[in-house]
Amino acid sequence: MTSYIEFRNVKKIYRMGEVEISALNGVDFSIDRGEFVIIAGASGAGKSTILNILGGMDTATSGEVVVDNKKVSRYTNKELITYRRHDIGFVFQFYNLVQNLTALENVELASQICKNPLNPKEVLKSVGLSHRINNFPAQLSGGEQQRVAIARALAKNPKLLLCDEPTGALDYNTGKSILKLLQDTCRQMNMTVVVITHNLAITPMGDKIIKVKNGIIEDQSINNSPTPVERIEW
């Protein structure tokens, strides 16, 4: 039986003119459903590339990516969009909210295009923003914006929630609360969550920790007793 998500010898080579830069040199790992996975590594280690390929934003040069028994690596461009549309929730480092839409509308932006969305207001309530739903992003703090972003990702009811340095632009406490929100979501909604970070300090909170270095998996470990976020310090 294969895992929920599987990377098999995934390679990614960028061609810049005559120069070939190898971002991934054969990556293998697997993630099970409902797992809270942390991919950690230094800048340029290749973790973002993994996330891009997993999120259907980029394609692998070779190797196989399987998500929920589907070979994502063989998807056409359009199938990739559909995949992103229905199966993936994405949380960006810089929230990437549409400035011209209110919190609620930003959530609707996602929920209105997918098959089985959650109620945007409910989702916003669940991320603790019920009092801010009609505010524009510029009127919200960074943490609040990131919560809107998470709500936007969750409202799609995705199979997979991908977070790219979700705390990168946030202060310590806000970052913690966001990580808690993600962890709680994972537990409560049995959502598979993949968080990318260069901050090794937060790795103990993951069910699985994948360490990336120079385009290969340096270490892959399962943490049977993840530490709650509150207790992690960095």
Binding site: I81, R84, Q93, N96, Q99, N100, L101, E105, N106
Partner: protein, 1068 residues
């Protein structure tokens, strides 16, 4: 190498953002090309024309006079200081039949190739012999006069052309062009259809006119100047004034000369008339006398005949009577003779007895004598007895005496008896003899009588014959006489008629003599030269265009560069912060962006001026080339213009660049390093209407909020697109306006489609032609109206039937379409006249008819009209104001069916009829008109293309900026799983809405722009419609939308290529 790193940065920036660089460069290039093109085109047009004028010696001054000009006038003008060259020459109009069409030619005289108003020989050669000619080679050589063919000219007037020209038939030896005629329009003529179609040049020696019609002069130094410049007129005006100064004197001399000559001629004519009259009368009298004599002769002859006949009859009768008498006499004579013979014979017997008795008595007497003698003796004895008583004696004596006498008596009687007897005896014998003679005489008489009888019969016969002959002769003479009399009568009538005519001519001459105006010189410079002015006007119109359009381009270009530069500065926020942090001054940093904008603008200017100075003049010149006969365009490089345009554009873009960078430069480096605080999302008005707002999905919400949030972009896009729509609408509007002229004028206002020139004999033919459905008779003459200094040429139209004419000519108010009735009193004028003279209904103006008679008329209506100018009045009113009856000379007709073939047939059919002089169709007029304005279509095309490029550049630029500003947003929604077209739609929606708003605004702007342009380009005799067709609105909307769709399509690929990884990048 100070700050060389900064310079490198600038250069690399340009390299790195070539698209942006090019977009600034191209909008600048577009604006500059358009402006420079429109500015240089009229200059090139004028320069090219002026060079052509100079090359072929177009006159600077033309002098014409009402009474012609003399050799002395030429010499006098030559004497004037500043006059370089003078030519006295002739111009007359004549008709020629070409391709079954009567065409008006203007005849010019040819002296030499280098003469004033010289010719450019295109084909063949120049004339060498008097009977050779050259003709114009037009742009469309539709007359197709072959070299070597002959052109026969006629005067088109009463006097034959041979009065003015030596030859009237010319062999075409060449085809030429001359700057004297640039346009097809060569002016009006008083003959043929009134339109000079072509010109013909014939050697000057052909002209027999006693005076020159024109004097052309070239002014010294004028060639060095462009005759479309004011300086040129400064030079020429000096000479014009000098000619004006001598004109009075020359006019006087000429007036006297002409008047004297006319008087002389009139005297001569009178003398001739009287001589002729006397001669004719004499001849008539002679004729009459002859006839009288003939009559008398005949009467005499008749009388003689009658007399002769009577005489003859009488003679015959007499002869007959005489003969009868003679016969009777003869018969009587014979009878008498017989009876005389009988009685003679009886008398003879008696006579013989008497003889015997006489003899007896004689004897008895003889016996008595002795007794008596005895007695005497006795007595004598007795007496002797002396006793006897005296008485007795006496008795005895008496007795004796008695007896003696008795004796004597007896003796005597014996003697006489004897004598008598002898005599009787002789007489008897004589009688016998006489009888015998008588008998003979009678016989011969009878013979003679018989002969005479025969004679008489012969004579009678002969006489009758002679009488018969004489009568016959007389009859003949009578018939001859009658004939002669008739001949006399008719020749008398003829002679009288001719004399009356001749007298009429003399009277005309006298009237003319009285009417001979003083000579008036018209000293015309090029401003009075049609081709010069018409062409100059065309150039001016382009100039007028160049004042409006470029403003759009300048504004749009400035806005585009402002947006682009702002975006660039925004993007380079961190860079600016870094530079600032490194210690670069404000100026140095700003100079980077200013330099960027500057290089883009300089580049754009170079390209723009290059295109503008070449493509535009060529296209526009060639467009006008359809209308004008000119050599090919000479492209000019106007450096000051190029520099000023460049300076303005550079100024505009660098200022915008400075403004854009200045905002950022105000901030301190630290804040510049931080991402700019995102602009606040704002609620818009529409959100207050939840019914609508809540129904919109997020992408509409984004779009709407975006539109209202970025006001600069909003206005710029709307303005750019509106400008495009306005330009396109104006372009289509110009076409509509031109169409209006044709369709309205020849469809709605003039319902007739054939114009037939005729005289009074011609009208009757029209009823019999079934191709003509309806017709009306009118008088058309060329006249003018004036008020103050302004005088405008018009066609005076006087309909015969004031009521039914409105089926053919509709008079109406343009604004509200109300009908205007043909006036009984007063004049209805066409709209342009009203505008030009600045008059309204109720005003009074001067009306001058074709006889140059002037009258004051009241305007009772101003009618919609687009081509030419008309004045409509009734025949009664015409008669009232000009004191002369109207001569109807034209019929306007509606055809049953119109197509070329039918028209040709009809034309041939009509023109062959007596009294029909010309036939023309509105379709031809329409075509001609369409040809002349077709050239404007090119300008329209230029405008559409320019508008299109404007729209394209503006939209492309804005969308580009829009995309780059929102690249994170786009990447994000891509990550969120938007399909490509959804992503595009997300961006396009904004473009679409802006396009629609811009289009609507543009339509409104276009209406005004179009109106402004149509009024600016308005030509003499043409009023353009100011209404734009509904279709044109649709077209310009569609075109604008098509442009914007094109831009959006191009953008689609750009959007597709937006990398999703952008979403992961930090905000910069």
């Amino acid at each position: 190498m100070k700050k060389s790193a900064l310079k490198k940065d600038i250069l690399r920036d340009i390299k790195g953002s070539l698209g942006r660089f090019l977009s600034i460069a191209s909008i600048v290039a577009l604006g500059v090309a358009f402006f420079a093109g429109l500015k240089i085109s009229p200059e090139d047009m004028r320069y090219t024309a002026d060079k052509y004028y100079d090359d072929y010696n177009l006159m600077d001054i033309r002098v014409v006079s009402t009474l012609g000009l003399t050799e002395d006038d030429v010499l006098e003008i030559k004497e004037i200081e500043g006059v370089q060259e003078v030519l006295g020459t002739y111009t007359i109009d004549a008709l020629a039949e070409l391709k079954e069409k009567e065409i008006v030619f203007r005849i010019h005289s040819f002296v030499s190739k280098e003469q004033i108003n010289g010719v450019n020989l295109i084909e063949g050669r120049l004339p060498k012999k008097p009977e050779e000619c050259v003709v114009e080679l037009g742009k469309e050589d539709d007359l197709d006069i072959a070299l070597g063919s002959k052109i026969k000219l006629s005067s088109g007037k009463e006097d034959p052309l041979s009065d003015s020209l030596l030859n009237t038939e010319f062999t075409v030896v060449g085809k030429v062009q001359t700057p004297y005629y640039l346009s097809f329009e060569k002016g009006n003529s008083t003959i043929g259809n009134g339109q000079v179609r072509n010109f013909i040049m014939i050697p000057q020696e052909n002209f027999k006119l006693e005076a020159f019609t024109d004097i052309y002069a070239i002014v010294e130094g004028a060639k060095d100047l462009n005759s479309y410049d004011d300086e040129y007129f400064h030079v020429v005006d000096k000479v014009t004034n000098k000619i004006k100064n001598i004109s009075k004197e020359r006019e006087n001399i000429r007036s006297e000369e002409v008047l004297n000559k006319a008087k002389e001629k009139l005297e001569e004519g009178k003398n001739e008339y009287f001589e002729e009259k006397a001669k004719v009368e004499e001849e008539l009298v002679k004729g009459l006398n002859e006839i009288e004599a003939g009559k008398r002769n005949i009467a005499k002859g008749e009388e003689a005949l009658r007399r002769n006949e009577a005489d003859f009859n009488w003679a015959i009768l007499e002869g007959k009577e005489k003969l009868g008498n003679s016969e009777r006499q003869l018969s009587k004579g014979e009878e008498e003779y017989e009876s005389a013979l009988k009685s003679f014979n009886k008398n003879k017997k008696i006579a013989e007895e008497q003889f015997k008795e006489a003899e007896k008595e004689i004897k008895k007497a003889e016996e008595a004598i002795p007794l008596l003698k005895y007695k005497i003796e006795q007595l004598k004895i007795a007496l002797e007895n002396p006793f006897l008583h005296i008485e007795e004696k006496e008795s005895l004596k008496a007795e004796l005496q008695q007896t003696i006498s008795k004796l004597r008596e007896t003796q005597k009687s014996i003697e006489s008896g004897n004598k008598e007897l002898a005599k009787n005896k002789i007489e008897l014998a004589k009688g016998e003899e006489k009888f015998k003679n008588n008998k003979e005489f009678l016989v011969s008489s009878r013979e003679k009588l018989e002969k005479e009888k025969l004679n008489l019969i012969n004579k009678e016969k002969k006489g009758l014959e002679e009488i018969k002959r004489a009568r016959k002769k007389l009859e003949k003479a009578k018939i001859d006489l009658e004939k002669g009399e008739e001949e006399y009568k008719s020749s008398k009538e003829k002679a009288n008629k001719e004399l009356a005519k001749a007298w009429g001519k003399i009277e005309d001459g006298e009237r003319e003599l009285n009417q001979i105006q003083r000579a008036k010189w018209y000293i015309l410079d090029r401003k009075s030269h049609y081709s010069y002015m018409d062409y100059g006007g065309a150039a001016d119109r382009i100039d007028a265009l160049s004042t409006v359009f470029p403003v759009f381009f300048a504004l749009v270009a400035a806005l585009v560069s402002l947006t682009t530069m702002t975006r660039m500065v925004d993007e380079q926020r961190v860079n600016i912060g870094t530079l600032k942090a490194l210690g670069y001054g404000k100026g140095a940093i700003a100079s980077k962006y200013i330099f960027y904008a500057l290089t883009a603008t300089v580049f754009g200017c170079i390209v723009g001026i290059g295109i503008g100075y070449t493509l535009f003049p060529t296209v526009i010149f060639n467009a006008y080339g359809i209308m004008y006969v000119l050599p090919s365009v000479i492209l000019r490089i106007n450096v000051p213009l190029a520099i000023s345009i460049s300076l303005v554009s550079i100024g505009l873009t660098t200022i915008t660049a400075y403004l854009a960078s200045n905002n950022e430069l105000k901030e301190n480096p630290a804040s510049l390093m931080r991402p700019r605080a995102p602009k606040l999302g704002k609620r818009i008005l529409l959100e207050k209407i939840p019914i609508i707002w809540s129904r919109l999905n997020f992408s509409y919400k984004v779009t709407l909020r975006n539109i209202f949030r970025y006001k600069r972009r909003f206005f710029m896009t709307v303005f750019g697109i509106a400008g495009c729509t306005a330009l396109v609408l104006t372009a289509f509007g110009i076409r509509d306006s031109i169409r209006t002229v044709v369709d309205k004028q020849y469809g709605e206002l003039f319902a007739y489609n054939v114009t037939i020139g005729l005289d009074s004999d011609g009208i009757k033919h029209l009823d019999n032609i079934d191709k003509i459905k309806d017709y009306q008779v009118i008088n058309r003459e060329s006249g003018s109206v004036s008020l103050g200094d302004i005088e405008k040429d018009i066609s005076i139209i006087v309909p015969k039937d004031l009521v039914n004419i409105d089926k053919l000519i509709k008079l109406q108010n343009r604004k509200d379409g109300t009908k205007i009735k043909f006036p009984n009193n007063g004049i209805v004028i066409s709209e342009q006249i009203g505008k030009d003279l600045k008059v309204k209904v109720g005003d009074k103006i001067n009306l001058i008819n074709s006889e140059e008679e002037k009258a004051i008329v009241e305007i009772v209506g101003i009618t919609e009209n687009y081509t030419f100018n008309y004045g409509y009045l009734s025949s009664e009113y015409y008669k009232e104001i000009f004191q002369r009856p109207v001569k109807f000379n034209e019929a306007l007709g509606i055809l049953e069916d119109t197509n070329k073939e039918i028209e040709n047939q009809l034309s041939k059919e009509l023109i062959s009829k007596e009294g029909i002089n010309s036939v023309s169709f509105n379709t031809t007029l329409k075509e001609n008109f369409e040809d002349t304005i077709e050239s404007l279509n090119y300008v329209v095309l230029v405008m559409i293309v320019s508008a299109g490029s404007l729209a394209f550049v503006v939209l492309y630029n804005l969308t580009n900026v829009n995309i780059s500003e929102r690249i994170r947003e786009i990447a994000t929604i891509k990550v969120l799983g938007f399909y490509d077209n959804e992503v595009s739609a997300y961006i396009y929606r904004e473009n679409i809405i802006l396009t629609i708003i811009g289009t609507l605004v543009g339509l409104v702007m276009g209406i005004f722009l179009h109106r402004y342009i149509m009024i600016t380009v308005e030509m003499e005799n043409i009023m353009f419609g100011l209404k734009v067709n509904f279709k044109s609105y649709i077209y310009s909307m569609i075109l604008t939308i098509v442009f914007s769709v094109l831009v959006n399509l191009a953008m689609h690929y750009k959007l597709k290529n937006v990398e999703m990884v952008e979403s992961l990048k930090s905000v910069d």
